[in-house]
């Protein structure tokens, strides 16, 4: 029987395995689903919104809801200044959300279940947020690491701890998303394996569990996209308004 971890294997799509200067640059199943996520979100936000009718169709309703959700999140947690960075936050949200949700389709591939993908996303957020802070505040940005009201004598101890705490952000951001997605998908496969090995009658019990788990996984998929985005907003807020 296939291992529950087989679903995370990265394979080159048949006929699309390329080599460039000794590097493997094949178009893989991971890349395929990332491309699909981009296509789906583009279609959802352009074709569905195309007519922009006053009485929205279902699809238009979905895209309006997504827009309002993120726009509300930004104005709640970042403030007015954050509106400028809406495209960035929205792109991150859609990419993570579609990665999680497309991964729930049977036989698909969940690219957010790979640490390197989520870590790259988290590093992207981390670097952009740091650069925004540096451009807005210049050298003053580093006052982030020295909380106000702390006696100067504590600085040698506190500043390194604060820097470590700051640097741990991309790690916790990426590990959270990756661990949730990978654990969930592995669990689904393990229970499906029980169903197969227990036969037609007793196999129904793990099947029932699996049905409940699928619902739970969809909740996790939505929730993790939300958490990733709200933390991006929080970090953005820190950079925009230093305390």
């Amino acid at each position: 029987m296939a291992s529950p971890l087989d679903q995370f294997k990265i394979k080159a799509i048949e006929g699309l395995d390329f080599q460039l200067l000794g590097y493997d640059i094949s178009f893989t199943n991971s890349a395929l689903w990332m491309a699909l996520a981009v296509v789906v979100s583009t279609l959802l936000l352009t074709v569905a919104m195309g007519r922009g009718s006053l009485v929205p169709s279902r699809w238009q309703n979905i895209s309006e809801m997504l827009y309002e959700f993120i726009s509300g999140m930004i104005s709640d947690s970042v403030g007015k200044e954050g509106k400028k960075y809406f495209p960035f936050v929205f792109t991150v949200f859609m990419f993570v959300l579609l990665g999680n949700l497309l991964g729930m389709i049977p036989y698909s591939f969940t690219y957010t279940s790979h640490i390197i993908v989520t870590f790259s996303l988290a590093m992207l957020v981390f670097i952009i947020v740091t650069l925004i802070g540096l451009f807005r505040h210049g050298f003053h940005f580093f006052s982030l690491f020295m909380p106000s009201g702390v006696p100067l004598i504590m600085a040698p101890l506190l500043v390194p701890i604060e820097i470590l705490s700051y640097l741990s952000r991309p790690l916790s951001l990426s590990v959270r998303l990756f661990a949730n997605m990978m654990a969930g998908h592995t669990m689904l496969k393990v229970f499906a394996g029980f169903s197969v090995s227990l036969g037609v009658f007793f196999g129904l019990v793990p099947l029932a569990v699996n049905t409940a788990l699928i619902g739970f996984e969809i909740l996790v998929a939505l929730l993790q996209a939300y958490v990733f985005t709200i933390l991006t907003c929080m970090y953005l807020k820190d950079s925009i308004e230093l305390h």
């Binding site: 947690s77 403030g79 006052s143 982030l144 690491f145 020295m146 909380p147 106000s148 009201g149 390194p160 701890i161 604060e162 470590l164 705490s165 700051y166 640097l167 741990s168 952000r169 790690l171 916790s172 590990v175 959270r176 661990a179 949730n180 929730l223 939300y226 958490v227 709200i230 933390l231 929080m234 970090y235 807020k237 820190d238 305390h243």
Partner: protein, 116 residues
């Protein structure tokens, strides 16, 4: 079917939908008050573990790097491991206090209000 008919039909359906939903609105509005709070709490619960571990891991990695490049083994690892633990605790502390995960903690009534 003429256009008038269609609009009548639409008006009827709209009215039916409004009647149907008006009973629910009170329930719905209550629900929407609960659910973001609930979502936020689940989110915070899921965050705690990784917040702490991330601090420790970053501390250990930097400790090993410092040891590797400056040949201070094992002092760098020990010191940065402890500092990483502190950073991890600080992450958790901030997350619990809903202080927006900010590096640097600064209680002002204004800040505390904005964080929720």
């Amino acid at each position: 079917m003429t256009d008038d008919n269609r609009f009548d039909d639409l008006a009827k359906r709209l009215k039916a939908a409004e009647d149907g939903s008006s009973g629910k609105t009170s329930k719905n509005s209550q629900k929407t008050e609960d659910s973001p709070e609930m979502k936020r709490n689940i989110g915070i619960a899921l965050r705690m573990g990784t917040e702490f571990v991330a601090g420790v891991v970053v501390g250990v990695v930097f400790g090993l790097l410092i040891d590797h490049y400056f040949g201070t083994s094992p002092v760098g690892l020990i010191v940065l491991f402890i500092m990483g633990c502190c950073a991890g605790f600080m992450n958790v502390y901030r997350a619990v206090n809903r202080m927006g995960y900010r590096v640097g903690y600064n209680h002002t009534p204004d800040n505390d209000k904005q964080d929720h």
